[in-house]
């Protein structure tokens, strides 16, 4: 699993320990990865003014096969509604079993 966010590496490290996460967790302060995937939120930048990032990614889950091809995408039309873990697990089962 790979996560991408606009957090700094230090913020990500804190959250990894706080939540006991095991994943490759990447910092995308300049939105280079977000833009490469075309996932920048073009709407209202609702982050706190103290965070200096230019924009934020649209919360998105992607399932990618061993050749790098996208098998499944789940994207939030509303950032408060993110991929339900049950939906993600169902997609994993459907595409990888």
């Amino acid at each position: 699993m790979v996560t991408v966010s606009t957090d700094t590496p230090e913020e990500i490290r804190d959250r990894r320990y706080a939540h006991g996460l095991r994943a490759d967790m990447l910092s995308d302060r300049d939105l280079a990865v977000t833009d490469a995937f075309g996932l920048r939120n073009l709407g209202y930048h609702s982050g706190p003014p103290t965070d200096e990032v230019e924009a934020l990614p649209v919360p998105t889950s992607l399932l990618i096969d061993r050749d790098g091809k996208v098998l499944w995408v789940d994207q939030a039309e509303n950032y408060q509604r993110r991929s339900d873990p049950r939906v993600v697990l169902a997609a994993l089962k459907r595409h990888l079993d």
Binding site: T6, P9, R13, L26, S27, R40, P48, L56
Partner: protein
């Protein structure tokens, strides 16, 4: 009637603040735990109830003691409706689609080491884009 008797509006002001504080505390705790429920109706009802009771307190006359709690409850109670209003996302139609190959990318990981997407070759990957930890 005693002049020192607490006004009903004052009691309502503190009641509004208690509802707002309990709801906001629960909301932020669940945000921190990445555990916001899919159905947030109860949160919306509680936040709006806090704002409504706060307004009722001001209408009834909250007195010097109750004005601040009532105003705080109204502000906090309006919080969730505000975040809902700004939460709609807009993404370019050129975003990565099912069937396409993901672009090559590099980025710093949480150890400040450079991660290269070439490392993903040969294994299926679940990739999640988040806004940020807050």
């Amino acid at each position: 009637m005693s002049e020192t008797m607490v006004k009903p509006g004052t009691i309502l002001g503190f009641l509004a603040l208690a509802i707002a504080a309990a709801t906001a505390g629960t909301w932020f705790y669940r945000v921190r735990m990445v555990d916001i429920p899919e159905d947030r109706t109860l949160f919306v009802i509680c936040f709006l109830a806090a704002a409504g009771v706060g307004i009722a307190a001001l209408v009834k006359g909250a007195g010097k003691l109750g004005v601040l709690p009532a105003l705080l409850a109204i502000v906090v109670g309006a919080f969730l409706p505000f975040t809902i209003a700004i939460s709609e996302q807009q993404v370019a139609t050129t975003g990565v689609q099912v069937g396409e190959t993901i672009p090559h990318f590099t980025a710093l990981d949480d150890r400040r080491e450079m991660f290269d997407s070439k490392n993903l070759a040969g294994r299926p990957v679940l990739m999640k884009f988040f806004r940020a930890h807050w």
